[in-house]
């Protein structure tokens, strides 16, 4: 059966072998790494979930969001609120006491339950994206104006989270928890478990987005990126398609946030602010947008580089980030996957087959 699967489609065979090899390697990773490194990899994979969702709307829909930090943050806070309540037991979370709150705010109540927190962590960001998308896309706010609006959203939400210290922990965020459902977050076995959960979540997110892209929805998204007017006069309402994709993207960002908190053990407003939001876009740009897989590669590589460089030269990362941004924009508009397909096509050209793949618009 495995043989049939491998030989079933000759065109995709090498691709499938490559995929199986990558997945196998990923599954074996816990054998070769220390728990600390495994935690880092898990964190990168969690962030890659967000990148896939971002690529869905940017690469295919042409919608540039600089506000994904908010959706990420909402998911992260949802998980952190559950963990905090769990850690505090029957007592009020410690920061609420310091801020002078007498009782638990009503909206914290649902987060006592793990399933509720899990669902809300994806539902709330998706809902916020849905509302924002509904009003902006319906009124035909597109391009740079939409991007500016998402930046404004970041400003508003971050200010709100910092200001409402008794509800959100203010600038310090929410921290001070070390177990989930009775498992110690720092124990190596939990780390391995979370690694596989995150890997599965990433695979799920990738398959979901791939299915969307391969369906008529992806086709309409791409079409409205290139000519929204035409789409409308074909009888489609592009705003509904964009809103849908934006909501899916927001939900995935929330999922990424939840898994991120489990690794990092803290979420604060600075992690969902403007700079992280821009960094997220850079992951997708470096990996190559409009490919989905590029977003994963970009997110993992850039975050690994960030960790590595920050360990060696604490001040160096921002310089590298700035330089990378310039290089990607000027030299690699299609990112790493673009370089890869360019190299592949020039290799096959040397082999004799000439593809007249003209991707440039005349």
């Amino acid at each position: 059966m495995v043989l049939k699967w491998l030989t079933g489609n000759p065109g995709g065979r090498s691709k499938r072998i490559l995929w199986s090899a990558v997945l196998l390697l990923m599954c074996l990773a816990p054998l070769f790494t220390t728990p600390f490194r495994l935690g880092l990899i898990t964190k990168f994979l969690a962030l890659a979930i967000l990148a896939v969702g971002l690529d869905l709307i940017w690469g295919y829909g042409g919608i540039l969001s600089l506000g994904h930090g908010v959706f990420f943050g909402l998911g992260a806070y949802a998980m952190a609120m559950y963990l905090k309540l769990d850690a505090s037991g029957s007592a009020l979370p410690d920061f609420m006491g310091w801020s002078g709150a007498a009782s638990l705010p009503w909206f914290w109540e649902p987060f006592r339950s793990f399933p509720a927190a899990l669902i809300l962590g994806m539902l709330l960001p998706a809902l916020l994206a849905l509302i924002l998308g509904f009003f902006t896309f319906r009124n035909r706010i597109v391009g740079v104006y939409f991007t500016i609006l998402t930046q404004a959203l970041v400003m508003i939400v971050v200010t709100l989270f910092v200001g409402k210290q008794e509800w959100t922990g203010g600038t310090n965020g929410i921290t001070g928890y070390s177990s989930i459902l009775g498992f110690n977050l720092n124990a190596p076995s939990t780390k391995i478990g979370l690694y596989f959960i995150t890997l599965a979540a990433l695979a799920g997110a990738y398959i979901l987005c791939r299915r969307i892209v391969n369906s008529r929805v992806g086709q309409v998204l791409e079409a409205s990126r290139d000519g929204e007017n035409r789409v409308r006069f074909l009888g489609f309402d592009p705003s509904r398609y964009k809103t849908f994709a934006f909501a899916v993207s927001g939900g995935l960002a929330g999922l990424a946030g939840m898994l991120f908190v489990l690794q990092v053990g803290i979420i604060s407003p600075s992690m969902m602010g403007i700079v992280p939001s821009i960094e997220m876009v850079l992951w997708v740009a470096l990996g190559g947008r409009g490919t989905l897989i590029g977003a994963i590669i970009g997110a993992v590589l850039l975050n690994a580089a960030k960790t590595g460089i920050s360990e060696a030269y604490p001040e160096g990362w921002l310089l590298v980030l700035g330089a990378l941004f310039v290089i990607v924009v000027v030299l690699m508009p299609k990112g790493l996957t673009g370089l890869w397909s360019k190299a592949a096509s020039s290799l096959s050209k040397r082999g004799g087959t000439v593809h007249a793949a003209v991707r440039k618009e005349s």
Partner: protein, 279 residues
């Protein structure tokens, strides 16, 4: 003389006279349409009735309000006054553009507006669904097999061997035909075209004219055009607009004989000639 002009008399005899201004049922009627952009009145109390199986040309000097009229019908511009009714009495004046498109009013813009990054096939595919909701679209995979209707349309627009070509790499004329083909797959009752032959070679213009004639057998076609040779060759019925108003409606021969139309089109030259003669 331009090659397609030679056939002018033939087609006029066939379409202009025999079935041109027949009394086939109305597909759409626009009543008393007025559109103002700021202080400028683009269309002023215009009436237009479009009948089935009719190749209807809308002509007039620049700024006469022809394109604005198409915009009103397809919902791109909302009129200040007046109403647009479909043949069955449904009012579409206040409907959204995509809803009007869904009701069978296809609009072709002046510049080719196809999707350059999708293949010819995918461009056509986008138009064949009857249900345009997101939920259904999620279930449909793109790049399925080519349907019989798609093949028919491809044959009609002369692109059967370009199915897997990226639409952006087609020539200008081919892009225009592809867009017309996309509209045809929607099975429209009315097709609105804005200067479809602008920028085409004589041969392409000829082909486009024949294409429009064969389309008009199944639905009503309205063409805004400046190329008078083209209008003369293919028009069954002509409406002349001037300064946002209806000036004259009839067959091409009637229009050409009309002194008022000549005045509008040639007025300035005549005044100039008169002045020259006076001196």
């Amino acid at each position: 003389m331009q090659p397609y002009a030679k056939r002018a008399d033939v087609s006029l005899a066939a379409h202009g006279e025999v079935r041109g201004i027949g009394m086939s049922p109305t597909v759409l009627s626009a009543e008393n349409i007025t559109v103002a952009f700021g202080g400028f009145i683009a269309v002023n109390g215009m009436n237009l009735a479009l009948r089935q199986h009719e190749l209807h040309f809308l002509i007039g000097p620049n700024g006469a309000g022809k394109t604005t009229m198409l915009d009103v019908i397809c919902g791109k511009t909302k009129p200040g006054a007046g109403r647009v009714l479909l043949g069955d009495g449904l009012e579409i004046t206040r409907k959204r553009d995509y809803e009007i498109a869904g009701l069978g009013v296809g609009r072709k813009f002046q510049a080719p507006s196809i999707f350059p990054n999708l293949s010819v096939k995918e461009n056509l595919e986008l138009t064949v669904d009857s249900d345009r909701s997101v939920l259904r679209a999620l279930k449909v995979r793109r790049n399925r097999c080519t349907t019989f209707e798609m093949k028919k349309v491809l044959e009609l627009i002369g692109l059967p061997d370009r199915l897997h070509v990226r639409a952006g790499s087609l020539s200008h004329g081919e892009k225009q035909w592809l867009e017309i083909g996309m509209l045809l797959l929607q099975k429209p009752r009315l097709l609105l075209l804005d200067e479809p032959v602008a920028g085409m070679t004589d041969e392409e213009t000829m082909k486009t004219g024949e294409l429009l004639q064969s389309i008009a057998k199944d639905c009503s076609v309205v063409v805004v055009e400046h190329d008078m040779e083209f209008v003369r060759s293919f028009a069954a019925k002509v409406t002349v607009m001037h300064e946002g108003k209806l000036l004259k409606e009839g067959s091409m021969q009637e229009i050409q004989r009309d002194p008022l139309v000549a005045e509008v089109y040639l007025g300035k030259r005549r005044v100039a000639n008169a002045q020259a003669a006076g001196h």
